[in-house]
């Protein structure tokens, strides 16, 4: 079923956790809410779950006014960062909880509950651990129990609040791939909160970038990379270099007499800041920012060079290892020339 959030605001005292947030998800979509801490992503998720009421705005789900329903009536599956498993229950009892608390007339018979628990534990690859207690499981296993528990009620929507935040990097990548698989199998509309842009880009159909309670941009991962709408989105989605410039007719002109095509909303500006990614830089012999390489580090096929200009500005540059002369070393003086840059309206203020 489709989800529609319209102008939702939520304040805590004078702090606006959500400021007129609007977004929509189609049936079966995997949506990521991405932002730094304090950006409102968890507040929004709690509004969707019914654990918190917005001050203003509407939430529609399948055309139904969601705000009128209690969390119990919404039938959404919620997965918390710290699992929130019931410690005094076995894994099987945790998973069965949502079925066992149903009123008698809606409750499946015991044998069916047991069968469904078994099926779910197979789905999350925890067969044979049904008699264990949560304390006897690893973090990754606990989170899979939490997901099975949320799926047991056949949720109309799945909400995940930084579910992999407390796990180490390797387990995280594994669970990420596996979560996407489960989503594709069950086809349930999923909203996923994360502060890890790589996770959001990797998992989601579309990403909602939040900052200070507002939506900065909504788009497919590739769209966000190709056409970030604001300086915040550009900076949040990857490493970013900055260089003052002036923009004339879609070209960023730099001191030293070189220029680069300027992408982004600003076509003409006397004072602006050009932003560019480390991998969109060439080393030039002349016509470029004169810098000194301070540090080189190998990263697979790339070499990351940290550079410092005479005025102290720092730049990060990724060079292809195979195309880089072996003589390049820390202390070398080179010139950087961005291949293309982004210029945003807000950037002028910074």
């Amino acid at each position: 079923m489709s989800l529609s959030v319209e102008n939702v605001s939520k304040r805590f005292g004078r702090f606006a956790a959500l400021d007129r947030v609007s977004l929509a998800a189609v049936d079966g979509e995997f949506l990521a809410l991405l932002g730094p801490s304090g950006s409102g992503k968890t507040s929004l998720l709690r509004v969707l779950a019914g654990l918190s009421r917005p001050d203003e705005g509407r939430v529609l789900f399948g055309g139904e006014d969601f705000l009128r329903l209690s969390p119990r009536e919404r039938r959404v599956g919620m997965v918390f960062q710290h699992y929130a498993l019931f410690r005094h229950m076995t894994v099987a009892d945790n998973v069965a909880f949502g079925l066992k608390v149903r009123p008698r007339r809606d409750r499946p018979p015991g044998t069916e509950i047991a069968a469904r628990v078994k099926r779910l534990l197979a789905l999350v690859q925890l067969e044979g651990l049904d008699k264990r207690y949560p304390a006897q499981l690893s973090g990754g296993q606990r989170q899979r129990v939490a997901l099975a528990r949320a799926l047991a009620i056949e949720p109309r929507m799945l909400l995940l609040d930084e579910p992999f935040g407390a796990l180490d990097a390797k387990v995280r990548r594994e669970l990420r791939r596996w979560l996407r698989q489960i989503h594709d199998e069950t086809g349930v509309t999923t909203v996923f909160v994360t502060h890890d842009q790589e996770e959001a880009m990797d998992l989601a159909d579309r990403v909602v970038v939040l900052n200070a309670g507002r939506v900065e941009q909504i788009g497919r991962p590739a769209e966000l990379q190709a056409a970030p709408a604001t300086a915040f989105v550009f900076d949040f989605l990857g490493d970013s270099n900055r260089l003052p410039c002036k923009v004339v007719d879609g070209h960023a002109m730099f001191d030293g007499g070189f220029s680069a095509p300027a992408l982004g909303p600003v076509r003409d500006a006397p004072h602006a800041v050009a932003r560019f990614r480390p991998h969109e830089v060439d080393l030039a012999v002349e016509g470029g920012v004169p810098v000194t390489i301070t540090h080189l580090s190998a990263r697979g096929a790339l070499i990351r060079a940290e550079c410092q200009a005479e005025d102290g500005a720092l730049f990060e540059v990724d060079l292809l290892r195979d195309a880089t002369p072996g003589s390049l070393a820390a202390g070398a003086k080179v010139r950087l020339r961005p291949r293309r840059v982004f210029v945003f309206a807000e950037a002028a203020a910074t």
Binding site: F86, H88, A146, A150
Partner: protein, 278 residues
Amino acid sequence: MTARRWIEPSVLPGFGPALGFTLFWLGLLVVLPLAALVARPWELGLEGFWRSVTEPRVLAALRLSFGAALAAAAVNVVFGLVVTWVLVRYDFPGRRFADAVVDLPFALPTAVAGIALTAIYAGNGWIGSFLEPLGIKVAYTPLGVLVAMVFVGLPFVVRSVQPVMQDLDAELEEAAETLGANPVQRVVKVILPALAPACVTGFALAFARALGEYGSVIFIAGNMPLVSEIAPLLIVIRLEQFDYAGAAAVGLVMLGLAALGLLTINLSQVILARRGAA
């Protein structure tokens, strides 16, 4: 083959002296007096001991002491939970004051508490005068014993459960709610099981305190032999009659039964705790 060590080596220094001191201290303060108690009654001989502790008056006193202490602990667990719930879960004017009031039974000399309770529950007291027409007599009956024991035991339950309830993760209840549990189910299936180990601790402490309570009980009980006389009082009476062996005999039976009771409670605690935190 490596020899199994008696203790695992610890990075903390001073295990030897610390253990030595602990054993010395426990021995001096707890074991030695109790050993004297265990040794004393046998001057009556096995048969004399048996006769001494199976007198109807002794049996009635033991029954009252243990029965009322168990009942008081049970009452305290139920109402202590309610009090704790209110103190922890709601914010209201005077909450800190109410929180402090809980500790008063700790601090009050028990005789003062006994006199105050007696004054209130006597037939002409504030509460007693309302209960009397209903045919309920509290002061000078076993019910009075129960009231006094409930009074002294309350803080133990509240202070045992309070920190655990404070640390209870709100996400647990939220998870239960999104899974469809109604408020009663959330309390019964999620919150109470999480509090169970602390409740058992509070029960054990309140039980132990009520069993050993003397000062407040003797004022309100009326101390009628076979009816409202508690075992500790019987011990005092025997001591006053210079029947030291007879007093020690009752004391020894109390010690044995109390140890048995606490052991049972602690065992159930271990079982409860093992489920949560293996």
